[in-house]
Amino acid sequence: MEHIAHDETSFVRPAEVGEMELYHAKTWLGKYVFSQDAKTIAIQYAATAIAIGMVALVLSWVMRLQLAWPNTFTFIDPAYYLQAVTMHGMIMVVYLLTALFLGGFGNYLIPLMVGARDMVFPWLNMISFWVYFTAVVLLAASFFVGGGSTGAGWTLYPPQAILPGTPGSETGILLMLASLAVFIIGFTMGGLNYVVTILQARTRGMTLMRMPLTVWGIFVATVLALFAFPALFVSAIMMSLDVLLGTSFFMPAIMTMGNEADHVGGNPLLFQHLFWFFGHPEVYIVALPAFGIVSDLISIHARKNIFGYRMMVWAIIIIGALSFVVWAHHMYVSGMNPYFGFFFATTTLIIAVPTALKVYNWVLTLWQGNIHLTIPMLFSIAFLLFFINGGMTGLFLGNASVSMPLSDTLFVVAHFHMVMAVAPVMVVCGAIYHWYPKITGRWYHEGMARFHFWVTFVGSYLVFLPMHYLGIMGVPRRYFEITGTTFLPDSAQTVNASITIAALVVGFAQLVFIYNLIFSAMKGKKAPGNPWNATSLEWQTEHTPPQHGNFGKELPCVYRWAYDFSVPGVEDDFIPQNVPPRTTTPEAAS
């Protein structure tokens, strides 16, 4: 191995900005409950998100039980079914995936990966979590109020959402809207923190173009969320006013239950535009962090630098920008002008270009790599398969003419589960296994992890692949039951039953996953500080798990990107970002 100089002062000028003053909690409450340490906050976010996500998982079982064996389970009536559909969707998209990627991974990884002591506004960060927690409590409270939670579907379309007859139209919908508004307030606090930390608290040498792609993904997703969530916030306020004050933002003159409603002149389509102006970027708010994380996982576990780093960064930025001009492809059947539909079909297909580039680059990173089939790598490969599958069906649904007959069928459900549910969840699982030794200082149980992977991977395919065929046959989504429908053969019901069995098994595997995480945190084997021989800064901390302040006495200096794997002429197959360049003095360089 060549000699490496360690005299950092030869290369790095002193920082102009002094070290941030860290808040050191003096009480147990201050340290573990109202903590201002981003790592603790990250774990709080993750635990809360996973807990409410488990509720959503159980709700999916409720749906599947009804669809597989209609009228067998007496506790599932049409109203309960619709409530389960609604809450499952909203919880999974907003309260689990968004919160986990940005609040969980964002909080843990941003300061560590950019070489900062903490987020720039630790107090605001703490408040952000507790506001999120309040939003989750409000949402969960809607299960217990009179009339139950809303059953309007996760899109909450008016006028249906607030008319009598829709489950939860009394209180459930209001709690949902309030919860969303509170969530957005909390997220804005956190989001400002993430963006400013990435822009201003990077350590010396950590240029934007040296940041790991994980940070890029979280950064652009956060910017998207900051600009997309206001649309949801506005629509939540407007719908709340329609319910509470009798305004008519979205409610047209309408008959309900044989009576004329008080509303007049509202425009339901306005809600759809506002909702999807948020809703489509939301897909990328979930996807971009997954793109970034999986890039790092693939590179590290294939021991190869990421193929086309700059292209990957620009693809993330371009996808983020384009995501704001595709929203109406969710509204092809709303009666829009065909030219309008053409515009949105075109932008939708354009966004496939940078997305496809990313897929090629992941595959080319794997090509001739020294692939280690570790658990994170297995989940990364599974992500690729699900994402390519879901992406291809996106080409169908992005075209207005093809999308219309498939609209509101299980084909749509299969598509978005493949591309923005299962695929990002694969990354979540891979990422948790990848950073678990750093977060806990212990190894997870390998056998349970492999069981979790294979059951989740195969099981998810068994759930969502056949669903495409049901959709093409015309099976509609959100229907309580389809038995006795003349255009559907009996085999459709058989497929439905098989999907349910697979879904139950996949759900069980997640319980094993959570057991593994909890059990191993206490009883797992001790893990070294950098078990994957990774290069980014979070693996170079003095302590594992990292202590408050992340790094030792001094912040690390960065001399290179995060992808120096298998560098020719170097004995080890990795060079950490904080290892100085080979013996080159400033004089020699000049």
Binding site: R13, G115, V196, Q200, R202, T207, L241, L270
Partner: protein
Amino acid sequence: MSNIFTEQPWIADAGPLTPALSGAQISVNARRSALKMLLSVVSVFFLLMIVAYGGRMLYQDWRPTPQINLLWGNTGVLLLSSLCLQAALLWARAGKTDWVRGALIGAGILTVLFLVGQVAAWQQLTSMVLGDFSNPSVGFFFMITGIHGLHMAGGMVALMRAIKRAFTQSDVQSMEHNVSNCALYWHYLLGVWLLVFGLLFTGDNFEVLLKICGFI
């Protein structure tokens, strides 16, 4: 920004780092950056409401909000409060601490007056429409003024803290930072108010709004 386009990240350093490439060496006020980011988010928020309002105006049954003259007075008060903060900023830069304190208190009082005036305008409108909020323009009036008022009220929290620090701390530079951030926020919300007041609530600005929203 140029290094984002030209940097070749796969090449490791071979010499001293320049300050421009080094994050921790960027000496920018983080609070200022966060505030600017927040104002960008708030801009999207108000823009969406204005576009929604413009879209709704296109329909045949559109009925504008009744005129409320009190809003002119409220606008004047908000303008004065913003001027007070600008004066406070200039005095802070000149190190005239006592003047800064007075201007900050003046800005606070005027802002409270503005908020009280807005509530009075709400009451006037409620009595004008006899409690019938089904007219969309009335709904928009309440929502947009309400949200603007909430932003002003939120700003008051920061202003109160700035006033407290102006009386308890002697660090002039810190005072200037606080006053500068408050002034930026107030000027911004004054701008937003002038925009929504001018476009939405001062008579028949139908065509102007439609042009801005790109409908004609």
